[in-house]
Amino acid sequence: MSLLAFRRVILRLAAVAAATVFVLPAVAQPVSAADASKLIETVAAEVIEIVKTKTGADRQAAIRKVLQANFDLPFMGRSALGRYWNGASETQRSRFLAAVETAEARAYSERFGQYAGQTVTVGKVTSRPNGVSIVDSQLNQTNGQPIKLQWEVRNGGQGPLITDVKVEGVSMVMTRRSDFSSYIQNNGGTVEPLIQELEARAAR
């Protein structure tokens, strides 16, 4: 093979590689351990502050802001929809993401409604080869055993963002994914009934 042809092959392969890198959102800039744990500490502090000072609709709106600023909600929604994401139209996708965002904001503000002086201790950070950082932490309760919390932090281009929370080994995204996929399968195999159900719940 002449050097020129070889170079052309290399260039073409490089183009393919570049395209793959751009297509795959999972291949992101790595998040440093310090950044990841700082993000979790900031979010925990912000949420505790909101829960202490705000109630009702105010709290929900404030929690929603924290979610929007620190969580990669589109990424989480996409993961939760799994393979059905590809089959959804552009409008269905945006309707789905909006409904999921409302649902998550409501769920989190209700969860924190039970706040009774818990604190979050951030532990070790594990960096994964694909640029994702897993932050171990503990929710210390005033009575009873501490609850194990793990946060998945990745950088999809807009700085480090949280993409999953695991409570005692139960991943929120994985559970949603199972939940949604079962609902879709039992309702004709399309995403439309799921989106309508989520929208109806968001409107309540």
Partner: protein
């Protein structure tokens, strides 16, 4: 120098292609195996009816009306009765030292702790562990801990699978207290019944918040619970395996992240 650059480019390309391949083939997020879903869902609906009408209200009353110290003592008593089974499992899991600590806890709490009502052992620095035969099987099974055989909805007890259901049966058969009451031929069945009943109420009272949350925030409660149960059990087994297991949960998650 130039050739070196070329080589690294080729390596990068190959790596990128491989990763792309992963995204297509390795889902890393197989659904829970549930071949008897229809009977399971039927049992689930019966369980829910019983839960809504009887179990949950009793658990709420227990949580809100029974004074906290009394709840704690009941919890300690039930935990203490479960220690021998934990110790047996720890021996089978190949951790006799931990089993000895558990038995020391049992002896201390049964005597100084007034038949287990007070957890003196923890104050003495003997930490509590809880093991069951489902975890023991999972430790040796040699499959991903997410794979516990077919999913199984048990009456009253709730979510389980082939592995944990078998484990439950083994724990029941190995329980010294059950054997003791059986051999003494004394009519202690009532006490055993009370013990299992209290265990159910106590457990339900501590899961009110989590289960309400799961129900409210899911579109298919059955599927959400199936997933949450499987993940939680897998996490417990993984903690046991961590010392020996190379393919970790994190690696599995890496693959999941690539799925679309």
């Amino acid at each position: 120098m130039k050739r070196k650059a070329h080589r690294s480019l080729v390596a990068m390309t190959v790596a990128a292609t491989l990763m792309g391949g992963c995204a297509v083939n390795d889902t890393g997020a197989a659904e829970v195996w549930d071949p008897i879903e229809t009977p399971n869902r039927f049992m689930f609906s019966i369980n829910r009816a019983v839960d809504i009408m009887a179990l949950r209200p009793v658990a709420v009353i227990y949580r809100d009306w029974v004074p906290e110290p009394a709840q704690k003592s009941i919890r300690n008593l039930l935990d203490n009765l479960g220690e021998p089974v934990t110790a047996i499992n720890e021996v089978v899991q190949g951790d006799p030292n931990r089993a000895a600590t558990t038995m020391a806890r049992f002896l201390v709490n049964s005597t100084i702790g007034v038949a287990g009502l007070f957890d003196v052992a923890t104050m003495l620095g003997l930490e509590r562990t809880k093991e069951d035969a489902g975890k023991t099987i999972g430790l040796y099974a040699g499959v991903e801990p997410e794979n516990g055989g077919f999913y199984l909805m048990l009456p009253v007890i709730g979510p389980s699978n082939a592995r944990d259901g078998t484990g439950l049966m083994m724990d029941y058969l190995a329980d010294p207290f059950r054997i003791l009451t059986f051999n003494l031929a004394v009519n202690w069945d009532v006490w055993q019944g009370a013990r299992y009943g209290m265990n159910v109420i106590d457990y339900r009272s501590r899961t009110i918040f989590a289960l309400d949350d799961l129900e409210k925030n899911s579109v298919d409660y059955y599927a959400a619970m199936r997933s949450a149960y499987t993940q939680n059990r897998a996490d417990l087994i993984r903690q046991k395996r961590e010392k020996t297991d190379a393919r970790s949960e994190l690696e599995r998650r890496d693959n999941l992240a690539l799925v679309r």
